[in-house]
């Protein structure tokens, strides 16, 4: 078994083990063992990858494996990773691990909860390793569907509505995606006779010159299809509702990992394979992206529910990812990928903390809380850390990422890009407003009587949150380690598009 397929096999084995397990505690232990193994594999992968690269390997993709799946259509199970996918896999494994810790106390249908969570993770891992459009699409859908059950069964509030909305919007987006995949497939080989010779292989399609008229049709389909899951402005509405209703671990996985599939897919498929289409459509999409950035930040100010605040904050920050991608230069792309990574850790931390607070106060409305810092000092301090990281304080990962995006954006000297960039930069100020407002109201201020005897933070909550803080700090303090990996991975992709 090769090093990458294990990322699909191990979660599947975990699911099978869970099916034959009995006892509330054993479910947790089995899941925990599974997710620790996954995290170990992810770091092993990172180590192996660095070894390979320092040995002078210059391939775009490494650890490639190719198995024929459906021969008549030339569908392959083709996998391989570059620096970005390695980091994304690491992010996923960490969030699955911390998510397991945070959902230690899920008591209703525990087994089913963990099974759905692991199935979701399987889809995400598979998406990040696959280099074949068909395989990628299969894993994408595997990742989307468990969300319905996770939100619908274990969620809070209007969970049935949110779950249905999320599922249908993401499936609707995959309609666009599927059409564009077929568009690419049918144009993947100009010499093909009938269906023979066509391919879903991303690296092979790249070698073909797809006519510009074709790219102009299929680029927006691929872009929007992926962007919906990345909370692209007019199609972001599933995300706040979904986040607000989801149980904690699911919000973490959802914001931390699942929404990253969007930016990753645009980077890997839409822009890489259809650069001319990207140049043709860049202006309208950029306007929408920047609207998303400001709209998300401004909406976050107005929200009263902690989860909605962070959901809109995610819309804003992931808007920056799309904006960075649309800037189409190396620095901005590096920033976009770093932002994906850093936002993954920070948002997961946020949602974990919100889950912990909600588990104690039983409300997420900011105005109903106050003085939590004195009652729950550790949680309060962690919340401040997460907030500071989120608004891009130097020393944390958010700063490095946003800095790169804006520096990249300023490399364009024309008025349009300048205006867009200035609007986007100003959203950071807004970010500060909503984060500091929450910190001020909820953590500081007079202590409310009803919250005086809240239970202290438990070991599993501590472990989960500390791991996330650690990684956010690691990116912030050693930015060059991560950005070097990403830069090298971005290079072959950016060459085709400039």
């Amino acid at each position: 078994m090769d090093i990458l397929t294990l990322f699909v096999v191990v979660p599947v084995l975990t699911v099978i083990a869970l099916m034959f397990t009995k006892g509330q505690n054993n479910y947790r232990v089995v899941t925990l063992i599974g997710s620790i193994v996954q995290a170990g594999m992810a770091f092993n992968l990172l180590y192996q990858f660095l070894q390979l690269k320092s040995g002078g390997n210059t391939d775009i993709m490494v650890f490639m494996q190719d198995y024929v799946w459906f021969a008549p259509f030339n569908i392959h199970y083709l996998i391989g990773v570059d620096g970005i996918s390695v980091l994304m896999i690491m992010l996923t494994s960490i969030i699955v691990l911390t998510g397991t810790f945070i959902s230690w106390k899920v008591n209703d249908l525990t087994k089913e909860f963990f099974i759905s969570l692991i199935v979701l993770a399987t889809g995400v891992y598979g998406f990040f390793i696959s280099l074949d459009l068909f395989t990628m699409f299969v894993f994408y859908e595997i990742a989307v569907i468990p969300m319905y059950l996770l939100i619908g069964i274990w969620g809070t509030g209007p969970k049935e509505y949110s779950a249905m909305k999320l599922t249908l919007m993401l499936m609707g987006a995959s309609a666009l995606l599927l059409v564009s995949i077929f568009g690419l497939y049918m144009h993947s080989n100009p010499d093909a006779v009938g269906m023979t010779g066509l391919t879903f292989n991303i690296l092979e399609i790249k070698n073909v010159v797809i006519p510009e008229s074709v790219q102009i049709i299929f680029f927006p389909l691929a872009f929007v299809g992926f962007a919906v899951i990345g909370a692209f402005f007019p199609f972001h509405t599933w995300s706040p509702d979904g986040h607000a209703s989801a149980p904690t671990a699911v919000s973490m996985l959802h914001a931390g990992v699942l929404m990253k599939l969007g930016g990753y897919g645009i980077f890997r498929i839409a822009m890489y394979l259809m650069p001319q289409g990207a140049h043709y459509w860049v202006v309208p999409f950029m306007i929408l992206a920047v609207i998303g950035v400001s709209y998300g930040a401004l909406s976050a100010i107005k929200q009263t529910d902690l989860k909605y605040i962070n959901a809109y904050s995610s819309v804003s920050h992931l808007g920056l990812v799309l904006l960075g991608l649309l800037m189409m230069n190396e620095v901005a792309w590096r920033g976009a990928m770093l932002q994906s990574l850093s936002h993954g850790f920070i948002t997961a931390l946020f949602f974990a903390l919100i889950g912990i607070i909600y588990g104690r106060t039983h409300t997420r409305i900011v105005s109903k809380m106050g003085g939590l810092m004195t009652i729950m000092p550790i949680i309060g301090a962690l919340y401040v850390i997460a907030g500071m990281a989120n608004l891009g304080l130097p020393g944390f990962s958010g700063f490095v990422a946003e800095m790169n995006i804006f520096v990249g954006a300023f490399q364009h000297t024309d008025l349009f890009h300048r205006v867009i960039t200035v609007i986007a930069v100003s959203s950071i100020v807004v970010t500060a407003v909503y984060i500091l407002r929450v910190v001020g109201k909820m953590l500081m201020g007079p202590v409310m009587d009803e919250y005086k005897d809240l239970p202290p933070i438990t070991w599993y909550e501590k472990t989960g949150t500390f791991i996330l803080v650690l990684f956010s700090l690691l990116i912030g303090i050693f930015p060059f380690f991560w950005s070097d990996i990403i830069t090298e991975a971005v290079k072959p992709f950016i060459q085709g598009i400039i």
Partner: protein
């Protein structure tokens, strides 16, 4: 009749013998419960004999044609019917045993299957018509099998009337075709249709006749009432086996007989496919009764199948047959679950399923696998079936059709999720209590669900169908 002919008509002859033995067994068996075992055993033997390799050849001066693809399709139907029979045993025992109407059920289903075998093997329109009628009439009897239910009788009458109308249209079309080409043989007809309004009319008439059987819009009106009224095993048979055989027949007619009129029927299929998907899906949205719900769902699925007929080549044949095989299994799982729940609690509404997972987890899981397969969610086989149908449309450049298709998948996902919402998400004060079902139904549903989980990922099955599909 010599040994060679026996080998070529093996499916039909063994099935006919099975029916005859069953007729005799009914006389000599006192405990009618044993008929179930006898019928299942005989049909099992028939299914296994069918799986042995078969030659290509024709009989009765090309009236009867067989080749590996047709044999493979018969095997798919066999396996489907075998699963349906297994799941039906508990229904037969509880509802039909007191009335002493056990063996008739098996004999009628098998006779209908025999008709379908002759139909899909036909090389001549008379043969096709005889097969079609033999396939339809027993089903009409089966639909009204529950003699004390008014709805069941109603559905039998509706089925026989619409079947008569569709046969009339088919015969009218055939006579026009005969007038043009001077032959009733498929091989004699093809290639004789020049551009003329008469030939287009003939095509449309023949197409409409088959469209009734497949319940394509606008010939779908009988579907919901018949599905709702008929006993669940019969509905299950009607929705998968009957429909599957009709699609296969339509495919042979279009690809073989009307091959040079492809420019007419691609437009026809394109329009009907879109219309069928939308009508089926929109009507399914508001249904509460599960059998009605499945009726509209199967109308919508028929629209998807039509998408796969758009290119008359090997790709289309294999995609359609692969999809039918998966569709048969998915519907069998769902109808099996509906039937088991209906027998245990007499509940057939979606709202009644609230909280089902907490009382009956395994049947809910099977239901989920079946529904996700119909909706096309990977890694369950239905996704792969749909994907290959889209590929057929893409190979002709019909990107809009793919878009509409996937949009319809999203709509259909909504209503499939309604059932999942009821059984998994909701709780109920008065859920369907935990029940135990008999071993046959359990095995049948479990086998079908496991095949659904594995069949998509296991590609050799598709490769096998594809290797047989280069016959047209």
């Amino acid at each position: 009749m010599n040994w060679n002919t026996f080998l070529l008509m093996r499916h039909e002859i063994v099935l006919a013998i099975t029916i005859l033995i069953l007729l005799l067994a009914d006389i000599f068996t006192d405990n009618k419960k044993n008929i179930n075992i006898i019928a299942l055993t005989l049909f099992g033997i028939h299914t296994i004999i069918g799986l042995l390799p078969l030659d290509t050849g024709t009989l009765f001066g090309e009236m009867f044609i067989t080749n590996p693809l047709i044999a493979a399709f018969k095997n798919i139907l066999n396996i489907g019917v075998f699963l349906i029979l297994m799941i039906s045993v508990s229904w037969v025992n509880t509802k039909m045993l007191p009335l002493k109407k056990v063996s008739e059920f098996y004999i009628l289903i098998m006779s209908s299957l025999l008709g379908m075998f002759y139909m899909i093997s036909s090389g001549h329109f008379i043969m096709l018509y005889i097969g079609l009628e033999l396939a339809t009439l027993p089903v009409a009897a089966l639909a009204s099998y529950d003699v004390f239910s008014r709805k069941s009788s109603e559905s039998g009458i509706k089925l026989i009337l619409s079947a008569a109308l569709s046969s009339g249209m088919l015969l009218f079309g055939v006579s026009i075709m005969y007038a043009i080409s001077g032959s009733l043989y498929f091989s004699g007809m093809s290639g004789n249709f020049a551009y003329s309004y008469l030939s287009i009319l003939g095509l449309i008439m023949v197409f409409s006749g088959m469209a009734f059987k497949i319940s394509l819009v606008p010939f779908h009106f009988w579907t919901a009432d018949v599905y709702e009224g008929a006993p669940t095993p019969v509905t299950s048979f009607l929705s998968v086996i009957s429909k599957g055989a009709a699609v296969f027949m339509l495919m042979i007619l279009l690809f073989k007989v009307f091959a040079d009129m492809i420019w007419v029927w691609t437009y026809l299929l394109y329009g009907i496919s879109i219309l069928t998907m939308f009508v089926g899906n929109f009507f399914a949205l508001r249904q509460q009764n599960l059998q009605r719900f499945m009726a509209f769902s199967s109308v919508a699925q028929a629209g998807f199948i039509m998408m796969g007929l758009l290119s008359a080549d090997q790709l289309a044949v294999s995609a359609v047959i692969y999809f039918i095989a998966i569709y048969v299994l998915s519907n069998i799982v769902i109808f099996g679950a509906i039937q088991m729940i209906g027998l245990a609690s007499n509940k057939y509404k979606i709202d009644d399923y609230n909280g089902l997972y907490r009382t009956n987890p395994y049947i809910s899981l099977a239901l989920m696998i079946g529904l996700f397969s119909l909706a096309g969610i990977p890694p369950i086989a239905g996704f792969f079936g749909k994907f290959f149908l889209y590929t057929v449309a893409a190979s002709q450049g019909y990107y809009w059709l793919i878009f509409i298709g996937v949009l319809n998948v999203t709509i259909s996902l909504y209503y499939y999720l309604l059932i999942i919402r009821a059984s998994f998400l909701r709780r109920s004060d008065n859920p369907i209590p935990h029940f135990k079902s008999d071993i046959f139904a359990k095995i049948g549903i479990a086998v079908a669900s496991i095949i659904l989980l594995g069949l998509g990922i296991y590609s050799p099955f598709y490769d096998y169908i594809n290797s047989l599909s280069n016959i047209f």
